[in-house]
């Protein structure tokens, strides 16, 4: 858990009251702020004093004394220490995507002073959305007394850590506001479940060594007749075409169409550029790409292929091609909690060249590659072309993050479609997906492009 960042909600709270109050507070330290809220009453009291002296009205003078005493009251109170304990109970700390997670927070005054005005902003994980209730509360607590409030969050993919809770304690008069944070680490790990239905994910035609379900354009052992050729020593006897030998006297071997499995590496573009979204709260292209990669993984492994996963990201990550239940569990974990695919985006730049080199080094030489990228810049398109040229037959799946609400956004959309056209011209099939409809629909609508 990082202590160096102020919770988003706290920044907001500060911004709402005091535009300049963007400071960081470590748990355990406090910052006091004078609210100056009694200054108006002081002005009134002094006015009353002046007018009272002029008019010699006892009522006005007494009122003035009253007002000044009130102004002094603000100076004589001091804010209580920020000694509260925050305890969270989370209804489900491993929810599925889009589940609603109920959070109940119990706040207890651990100091021996009454807190007449305690305001609390819970450190909601930055990428979670509050769907019901409010993560903020204001109350008054006697020593040892506690209060409870609850709200609901919508779960999003990834590991989410609660940030320190911001506490604002005011004295009774409200003249001084003490701001502190309380550390209450909690984590919600939301694993996206892999889709249960497989779809016909398009792969490119292939030549490889292992048996599988993908019909290759080569003869050998298989089911479907492919060709006959002259007998060579070592060919199995049951493959000799005896009818033909009886007719001609020559030994001939029948070859069948070989069905082969393919190694596929799914590459998710997780550079900063891939965190684009058509609207501030909309799903990012990365989230869409991870969703599509899940569909591709399930469909391809169901079809008997070995599927691996990796990302174009500042940090290295790799799941070697594989198949089977255990591999599926690892793939699910990879897509849900791999830091490189975290929903909040990397801080560092991605060295795309090095990332592509890593993929080339690790991917089996005959592996096909499917790149999931919004294609918001030229670099990933270039990487796909390079991989394809290196003998990895490459397909691109591109969730569309562009919006058309302004000229600039429309221009970005045009640039993207030009990149798509360029890739297709180089015989790299591109699935253009608008990211809102379910991915299988986009695949079904896709005409297959050029193989």
């Amino acid at each position: 858990m990082s202590f160096s960042s102020i919770p988003a909600a706290a920044t907001r709270a500060a911004g709402a009251t005091d535009e300049a109050a963007e400071f960081e507070i470590e748990p355990g330290t406090v910052v006091d702020r004078r609210t100056r809220r009694w200054y108006g009453v002081t002005v009134f009291a002094l006015l009353a004093l002046g007018v009272g002296v002029l008019t010699r009205e006892p009522g006005l003078l007494l009122t003035s004394a009253f007002g000044i005493a009130f102004a002094g009251y603000g100076q004589f109170t001091s804010p209580p220490p920020v000694e509260v304990s925050v305890e969270r109970s989370i209804s489900d700390d491993a929810p599925d995507t889009d589940d609603t997670v109920a959070v109940t927070v119990t706040v207890r005054n651990e100091s021996d002073r009454t807190m007449p005005d305690l305001r609390l902003v819970d450190g909601v994980p930055p990428k979670m959305t509050v769907v019901e209730g409010s993560p903020r509360v204001a109350t008054a607590l006697r020593p040892g007394q506690e209060t409870t409030f609850s709200y609901s969050l919508r779960a999003r993919r990834g590991r989410h850590e609660f940030e320190p809770t911001t506490v604002l304690a005011r004295d009774a008069s409200g003249a001084t506001e003490r701001r502190g944070t309380v550390d209450a680490p909690d984590t919600v790990g939301c694993e996206a479940s892999l889709p249960s239905q497989s779809v016909a994910f398009p792969l490119r035609s292939q030549t490889t060594r292992h048996t599988g379900r993908f019909p290759a354009d080569t003869g050998g052992p298989g089911v479907e007749f492919y060709a006959t050729r002259e007998y060579r020593p070592g060919d199995p006897l049951n493959r000799v075409d005896w009818n033909r030998t009886a007719r001609t006297g020559d030994l001939t071997t029948v070859q069948y169409r070989v069905e082969r499995s393919v190694s596929v590496v799914l590459v998710v573009d997780a550079r900063q550029a891939a965190y684009a979204a058509p609207a501030p709260q909309a799903r990012t292209a990365l989230d869409a790409a991870v969703d599509a990669a899940g569909h591709a993984y399930v469909s391809l492994t169901d079809a008997g292929h070995d599927v691996g996963l990796t990302a174009l990201s500042p940090t290295d990550c790799w799941l070697s091609p594989g198949n089977g239940d255990e591999h599926r569990v690892r793939a699910r974990e990879f897509l849900s909690t791999e830091p490189a695919l975290s929903p909040s985006g990397p801080d560092a730049e991605t060295n795309l060249y090095a990332a592509v080199q890593r993929i080339r080094r690790r991917a089996p030489t005959d592996a096909q590659i499917v790149v999931f990228s919004p294609l918001t810049d030229d670099h990933v398109a270039g990487a796909a072309i390079r991989l394809d040229a290196n003998g990895h037959r490459t397909t691109v799946v591109s969730p569309d993050p562009t919006a058309d609400d302004s000229a600039g956004h429309r221009l970005a959309g045009v640039w993207r479609s030009l990149r798509l056209a360029d890739l297709r011209q180089r015989d790299i099939p591109v699935v253009d997906w608008d990211g809102t409809e379910p991915f299988p629909h986009a695949l079904a609508r896709w005409d297959g492009g050029s193989r």
Binding site: A8, T17, F44, S64, F66, S134
Partner: protein
């Protein structure tokens, strides 16, 4: 382009109902008690309307203007020679109206309308009313004990309070 998804983007900053109710009620008390002349009553009524609008909508500016109007009405009533007790009541109610409204607007801006805050609002108003009553009673008793009704006593009291206040400011 990563976005921080919290409800703060659509935060409803209106104050809680308790603050609104207290501010308007206290303002009404000020208007009723200070309406000893037509002018004071008219100013007070206008101020009350502005205060209730300001507090309801969470507008700090409107609330300040309205509160200044309430204090103005109290001053006008004092100039017209209103007795000390009604003056103290009117001024106290004006302070409470201002305080409750300001507190509510602050809470609304920091925590939003949806946050549970009634207890904090009521506790704050309660303390203010208690302190105000105590100050008013002590002030009046001292004033009454000196009871020749000489303005000089009040002036002495004011000065004493002002001295205390300056001391507090320097701390």
């Amino acid at each position: 382009m990563s976005t921080r998804a919290t409800d703060a983007d659509s935060l409803d900053t209106r104050p809680g109902t308790a603050s609104v109710a207290v501010a308007v009620a206290a303002g009404l008390v000020t208007v009723l008690v200070s309406a000893t002349t037509l002018l004071a009553g008219a100013v007070g009524l206008c101020a009350l309307v502005v205060v209730s609008f300001g507090v309801r909508r969470g507008s700090r500016l409107l609330h300040r203007i309205g509160s200044a109007g309430l204090f103005g009405a109290v001053l006008l009533a004092g100039v017209a020679g209103t007795e000390p007790v009604p003056m103290l009541v009117a001024a106290g109610a004006a302070v409470v109206a201002w305080d409750a409204g300001e507190h509510g607007i602050d809470l609304g801006r920091q925590l939003g309308h949806a946050a549970v805050s009634t207890r904090a609002q009521l506790a704050h108003v309660g303390v203010t009313v208690a302190v105000g009553s105590a100050v008013a009673v002590v002030g009046y008793v001292v004033y009454d004990a000196a009871s020749t009704g000489q303005p000089t006593t009040a002036i002495a009291l004011s000065l004493g309070a002002a001295l205390l206040f300056t001391y507090a400011l320097d701390r």
